[in-house]
Amino acid sequence: MNPYNYLYLAGILFTIGAIGVVVRRNAIVVFMCVELMLNAANLSFVTFSRINGTLDGQVTAFFTMVVAACEVVVGLAIIVAIYRSRRSASVDDASLLKR
């Protein structure tokens, strides 16, 4: 099978994720879209690794997963904390840093 198809898929996934981050207000959904973009990146790493016949991309994919897991832990904790104090998970409500 043509490995470039995986790259196209990665591109589509990344675009969906990016649009989701910009468009959706719910923090949980924004978060899932970020994960989607990370996974798109992972997919392209693995694909390039396959195309080039080396293991570098595969290894990087594992690193990315670890970082993503950590990010999820911290991010979810923040979202929960914000939800507790503000009774809302909308990212637009948490816009107090501008002043």
Binding site: A18, V21, V22, V23, R25, V30, V91, D92, A94, S95, L96, L97, K98, R99
Partner: protein, 631 residues
């Protein structure tokens, strides 16, 4: 050349007095004036001792030097702090310390009720030390230190009563105008060092034999500027009248007898430069001739007794500068007039101080009159000084001024008659205004009000006046007997006399002309003032010339129009350009940062999604850019 180790005490004693009184502060109030007077007198005693030593040596060995320490030593550039005592400097040493000591004694009584008397004496001692350094330095650089020192002392003493704003302004004016002259001296030193490679008098004299005339002329002109600033000569003369703001003993010591004659000393000391640079020498003569008439004219219009005397000082120093500009024939006579002038002018200033002392510090001569009855001693001493300055034989001024007039007539070519006539005219005007001072103060009808009780001054004040009056009577005779002073000074000028070969007029004819001029001046003043009633308020309906002379012949107006206002315009222009251009650039950078910041701030919405959108757009734009470039 001989060396000696005791010259330094001349300077060290008064310097010690000044330092002790300034550092000692109020603790020394009780006896400070006595210490200062003792230091000055001690310095005078050392001067007498040095004179005796010098008289004991043969003519060739009279000049001695003392090297104090190596002052500046950089590579081949070596300057010692060294003192040179020769026939010329010993005259000045004795004048400075002798008259200085008398004025110290006078001031003990004159400043008795001033709570800052100790500070006054500290400054006087500082002045004596600086002035001695000026005349004893063996190089232009050492002289420069003293030159600045006397400028400082003069500034401090003119502004001694600086609680009055006008007096503080006068001291600043004197300081600033002196700085213009000091600039000339520093340029002269720099040119001398650059072209001749040395700054010692001996070195420059040696090098001047084979130096280019252009360099020597440049040095000479700069020295003339220096002399004009310090000696209140045209065109830097305007400060002297205002300098009378200082206490009267200061006017007598600094602004009549010693400091203002430093310019004459400088020119006479630099005789080797002026002898080799005729252009510079001509400028000296012109400056002297202008100032001698200029000062005399101002003197005729002044009602303030001290300012009339100041104008007279300016005029008399004009005579000296003129004499110094006449070359080897005139140097000794310039110094002689300087010394006799030191006696009679200091005496008259002290007399004026004595009059003020008895008249509630009134200086307006129109409020005086008939003081001869109330202040007989002051009248006699002032009168002897008066006879000396107008040049009545056998008083001191007759000899010295007569010799200067004679030398001026003998200047040769067209110069001779012109300069001779100017000096004669100056003598006539001098006689006129000094007679006016005499009549207004001592012999006309009394014009003071009933609150004034004129009285003779205490003995501490009239004693120095009497000593100076004796000097005004005798010095001229002593100096000229057997050409004593001329023969004494000639070795300094590397000259062996013998330049009285041709006379335009016989000396006796010149004397007769001078006496006639004096008689005319005295007669005019006598008929104008003694015979007529003198209004107590200066008349306002007077001719243009009188008004012009009252305004110091426009010297302040000229300075203000030509230097002060353009200077102010220049500075305000510079301030504006600094404000607009330099500060404008600095402020512009700040304003740019602020405005761009406030504009960029709008993008900081606080919405996480808009940040994300910006990041996305940026990333896409970056990739697109790379793609476009690499394609």
């Amino acid at each position: 050349m001989n060396t000696s180790s005791s010259i330094v005490y001349l300077i060290a004693l008064p310097l010690f007095g000044a330092v002790a009184l300034l550092l000692g502060g109020r603790r020394t109030d009780k006896w400070g004036h006595l210490l200062a007077t003792a230091m000055s007198a001690g310095s005078f005693a050392v001067g007498i001792y040095q004179l005796m030593q010098m008289l004991g040596r043969s003519t060739e060995e009279r000049a001695i030097t003392q090297t104090l320490f190596s002052w500046i030593s950089v590579g081949s550039f070596d300057i010692d702090a060294a003192l040179l005592l020769d026939q010329l400097s010993i005259c000045f040493v004795l004048l400075i310390t002798g008259v200085g000591t008398l004025i110290h004694i006078y001031s003990i009584s004159y400043m008795e009720h001033d709570e800052n008397r100790r500070r006054f004496f500290a400054y006087l001692n500082l002045f004596i030390a600086s002035m001695l350094l000026l005349v004893l330095g063996n190089s232009y650089l050492n002289l420069y230190v003293g030159w600045e020192g006397v400028g400082l002392a003069s500034y401090l003493l003119i502004g001694f009563w600086n609680q009055k704003p006008a007096y503080a302004t006068a001291s600043k004016k004197a300081f600033v105008m002196n700085r213009v002259g000091d600039m000339g001296l520093s340029f002269a030193i720099m040119i001398a060092f650059a072209t001749l490679g040395t700054t010692t008098f001996a070195g420059v004299a040696e090098a001047s034999h084979h130096a280019s005339e252009a360099a020597l002329t440049a040095i000479g002109i700069m020295l003339v500027i220096a002399a004009a600033g310090k000696s209140a000569q045209f065109p830097l003369q305007a400060w002297l009248g205002d300098a009378m703001a200082g206490p009267t003993p200061v006017s007598a010591l600094i602004h009549a007898a010693t400091m203002v004659t430093a310019g004459v000393y400088l020119i006479v000391r630099s005789n080797f430069i002026f002898d080799a640079a005729p252009t510079a020498q001509l400028i000296v003569v012109i400056v002297g001739a202008i100032t001698l008439i200029f000062g005399a004219l101002i003197g005729t219009a002044k009602d303030d007794i001290k300012k009339a005397l100041a104008a007279s000082t300016m005029s008399q120093i004009g005579y000296m500068i003129l004499g110094a500009g006449l070359g080897p024939a005139g140097y000794a006579f310039a110094i002689m007039h300087l010394l006799t002038h030191g006696f009679f002018k200091a005496g008259m200033f002290l007399g004026a101080g004595s009059v003020m002392h008895g008249m509630n510090d009134e200086v307006n001569m129109r409020k005086y009159g008939n003081l001869r009855k109330f202040m007989p001693i002051t009248f006699v001493t002032f009168g002897l000084g008066y006879l000396a300055i107008i040049g009545v034989p056998p008083f001191a001024g007759f000899y010295s001024k007569d010799l200067l007039i004679e030398t001026a007539f003998d200047a040769g070519g067209i110069k001779g008659p012109i300069l001779g006539s100017i000096t004669l005219l100056g003598a006539a005007i001098t006689a006129f205004y000094m007679t006016r001072v005499m009549i207004l103060t001592f012999t006309s009808k009394a014009r003071w009000d009933e609150n004034t009780h004129p009285h003779e001054s205490p003995w501490l004040m009239w004693m120095p006046m009497a000593v100076l009056a004796v000097g005004s009577v005798t010095t001229g005779f002593l100096f000229t007997r057997g050409d004593a002073l001329v023969n004494w000074l000639n070795p300094v000028f590397g000259d062996h006399g013998d330049h009285h070969s041709e006379h335009l007029f016989e000396p006796i004819v010149v004397s007769m002309m001078a006496l006639t001029a004096v008689a005319i001046g005295v007669a005019i003043a006598f008929f104008k003032y003694q015979r007529a009633d003198i209004p107590a308020v200066a008349p306002t309906q007077v001719s243009f010339f009188t008004r012009f002379a009252r305004k110091d012949l426009g010297q302040d107006g000229f300075n203000e129009a030509v230097f002060m206002r353009p200077g102010q315009k220049l500075t305000s222009l510079l301030v504006k350009s600094d404000d607009r251009v330099v500060d404008g650039a600095v402020r512009g950078v700040g304003r740019l940062a602020i405005s761009s910041g406030s504009w960029l701030r709008l993008s900081q919405t606080g919405f996480a999604r808009s940040y994300a959108a910006f990041i996305l757009i940026g990333a896409v734009a970056l990739i697109a850019g790379i793609w476009v470039v690499t394609q």
